[in-house]
Symmetry: C2
Subunit: 449 residues, 2 copies
């Protein structure tokens, strides 16, 4: 059954207070769907619905809830109940929730847990947000490389129940250093008495715990990995990042880059769940800054006031010319920023790409000049049409170059190139456009006497 049908049936069962139907429907639902269903319910309802699931499935569904709702529920549960739930969650989700709690509750929780999980939680929660360490899990299967296949499979059966993936096994030496990986597929297909060391792949893609999470997502996608091992300074294996967490990071990054591209700060939760004040705050800063950036355009106009008063028809073409530069610039910036984010564009390609962009921009400028000069002749005569056409070519080239160069400059300065947002590029291109247009107009038409 699809989510919509299950959700409707569940809602009606809840209204009828039909406990049996509720239980059956909840058992039929995917954990992710159940999480979406309860997301906007009252906390009491969420608690009572989750109660219908066995503990391990409850922990999975709980892991899909928004951070805010998880925290709310965590505050309502007794320390014992919460510890029980946490112990059934995956190590990475457990850590995320743990980090949101206050010091007192964290201490109480740690005391309610077995020693090994305490240690693990302390270690995992110590990594900085945004790094591989913060998104990795310690639920992986490591086997000594000198094992044979039978023994490796036995270890997997004994320790694999809680592992996030049993499909990739990590081969370590006696000091816990990562030597290679072997897939469950290879183990299953191999002779039972082969040595793991012979089967394993030694060319392993790995990261250190302080690697940026964007880089982790990029590597998982590039090499089509199921999981990416994370090592510490001493080459000891400390965790893995699974592909599903990497996908979440990639999606989050794409959303963040798109928002940055429109000068929107990082939102907690999506558009639907973000608070009104958060939405306001994440948009207003840039909007106000851009108001001041646009004063340069105004100043440009004021400088040429005499020309404008003499040839008031020029103002008709102002929005059209100025916007064209901004649009061409935003296109160039978007292509660049996205190319850099996906790894398609590297800094060493810069000069070649700049050269290509100039050629494309000349083509774009000429085409648009042609389009606008038709309007120009019809509306304001040949002389002004000529001014407008010349301005268009130059404005589009300058705008494109600004859009192309800004992300690179920001990157060089150590900033996120995505901050080279369309509105910023537009504002800079606008001011240049005003200057170019009226400078050409004044030169061609002459200053009024």
């Amino acid at each position: 059954m699809s989510y919509a049908i299950l959700a409707a049936s569940l809602r009606s069962a809840m209204q009828r207070r039909d406990q049996e139907a509720i239980e059956r429907l909840i058992a039929d639902m995917q954990p992710a769907d159940l999480a979406e269903f309860v997301q906007h319910e009252h906390t009491d309802t969420v608690l009572s619905l989750l109660q219908h699931l066995p503990l391990d499935q409850r922990a999975v569904a709980f892991g899909y809830l928004s951070e805010a709702l998880q925290e709310e529920i965590a505050l309502r549960l007794s320390v014992t109940k919460l510890a029980e739930l946490l112990l059934h969650m995956s190590a990475d989700e457990r850590t995320d929730l743990f980090k949101q709690l206050d010091e007192d509750r964290q201490q109480a929780l740690l005391h309610a847990m077995p020693r090994a999980e305490q240690e693990d939680l302390r270690k995992l929660s110590s990594y900085e947000e945004g790094t591989a360490g913060a998104i990795m899990t310690s639920d992986y299967v490591a086997i000594p490389a000198y094992y044979d296949v039978t023994r490796a499979l036995a270890t997997l059966r004994a320790t694999g129940t809680h592992a996030e993936t049993v499909y990739q096994l990590y081969c370590i030496d006696t000091d816990g250093r990562l030597l290679g990986t072997v897939s469950l597929r290879e183990l299953i297909l191999a002779e039972p008495d082969s040595q793991v060391a012979e089967l394993m792949t030694e060319e392993v893609v790995f990261v250190t715990a302080d690697t940026a999470q964007e880089e982790v997502a990029r590597l998982v996608a590039r090499y089509d990995l199921l999981a990416l091992p994370v090592i510490n300074g001493g080459e000891r294996l400390v965790g893995i990042v699974t592909y599903d967490d990497a996908m979440d990071v990639a999606e989050e990054e794409a959303t963040e880059d798109m928002h940055k591209g429109m000068s929107i700060g990082k939102l907690e939760g999506g558009l639907r769940s973000a608070s009104l004040f958060d939405l306001y705050r994440k948009r207003v800063v840039w909007l106000v800054l851009l108001v001041f950036a646009n004063i340069f355009s105004g100043a440009g106009i004021a400088y040429f006031e005499e020309t404008i008063e003499a040839y008031i028809a020029l103002v008709f073409f102002l929005p059209l010319l100025v916007d064209s530069g901004g649009n061409a610039g935003s296109q160039a910036a978007t292509l660049m920023v996205r190319g850099m984010a996906t790894g398609d564009v590297r800094t060493r390609d810069w000069t070649r790409l700049l050269g290509r962009e100039v050629l494309v921009a000349v083509g774009l400028g000429l085409t648009m000049a042609l389009a606008v000069s038709v309007v120009g002749i019809f509306r304001a005569g040949t002389e002004i049409a000529m001014v407008v056409a010349m301005s268009m070519v130059l404005i589009v080239i300058v705008g494109s170059l600004i859009g192309m160069i800004l992300p690179f400059v920001l990157n060089r300065l150590g900033w996120d190139p995505a901050t080279a947002s369309a509105p910023l590029v537009t504002s800079i291109a606008d001011a240049s456009g005003v200057l170019i247009y009226f400078a050409i107009a004044t030169a061609v038409l002459g200053l009024p006497v």
Copy 2:
């Protein structure tokens, strides 16, 4: 060793013509890295480098090359050689390449292949681009549900070597209908004589072959799937889409949406490999259309020419006001479009989100009015400052609403909401801004006598 070091060593080995070193380095490289390395080499060099790899690894590396380069190489190989390579590629990549070849070569290739692969290739290549059918693979392991664990594992060993994933097994009835799934983890951890039918999960997330690929990517991410089964009309299992292909689709979609958001058409290949003409073509259409859209702003200005001539100081604030509406609108549109793409925003949330947006926009408008009125008083006196402030509030609200409503309207019309690009929203908001500003100015300041 990192990619950069391996690539540098390989390049120097190639200059020294040190065959032994070349062979060793190539063997050490990840297939994705080798593909990137050879991507811009001459076709002959690519062929000779790939030759160093055993056939199965060669096929994997070949699968990572760009479509254009794959096609070029395919045209250089004899039909026998090409068929041999294709047979070692995964079924989905094989199909992608096959579809690029001309009819004659397709026929010749089919004849050079075993019957089963012929059938498979014919079937897979018949699905429309952009659907689940076009990205799925037929390399999966299906087992009858009445098998026990021992027999299931034996089947897996016998047929699993070429499967894209052996970690998710698909349980079918005698007609090939999908009954459920069982993971290799469950099989390994279960008693050898348990029935597959007892172990399998019957609540399976699946799609039909004509499901849009964006939906496939969304489901794989939402349910953290390793692979998503694809069925035909008769509920028969026809293929699976693996998580790595879903990740590629998600990345491609995010890039496309970002480009659409800046009015750039769909590029084949990235910014780096797209042809100059393609870059020009995908950008010029919208740019020229937007020139004409901006004529409305020009017309608005022309309509109020008398007011402008009387109060030339108004022109100073024009770019700033008009851009603010466009910026607020682009922000709203981006939040909306991205929210719809990730599934965070659904059509039923519309009225609630619209209400929230109005509140946020009022807040934004008031803040920006405050900022601009300081500039206004300093620059042009209280009266004009008041006009500018009033206009700002209204322009920001109207701009935000346009950005909010346009994606929904497009969606209703069956268009991609991502077409509600920032430049389009900006152009519409600009024209409204011009009208609002000068209408308020004329009303407050009075027409010149």
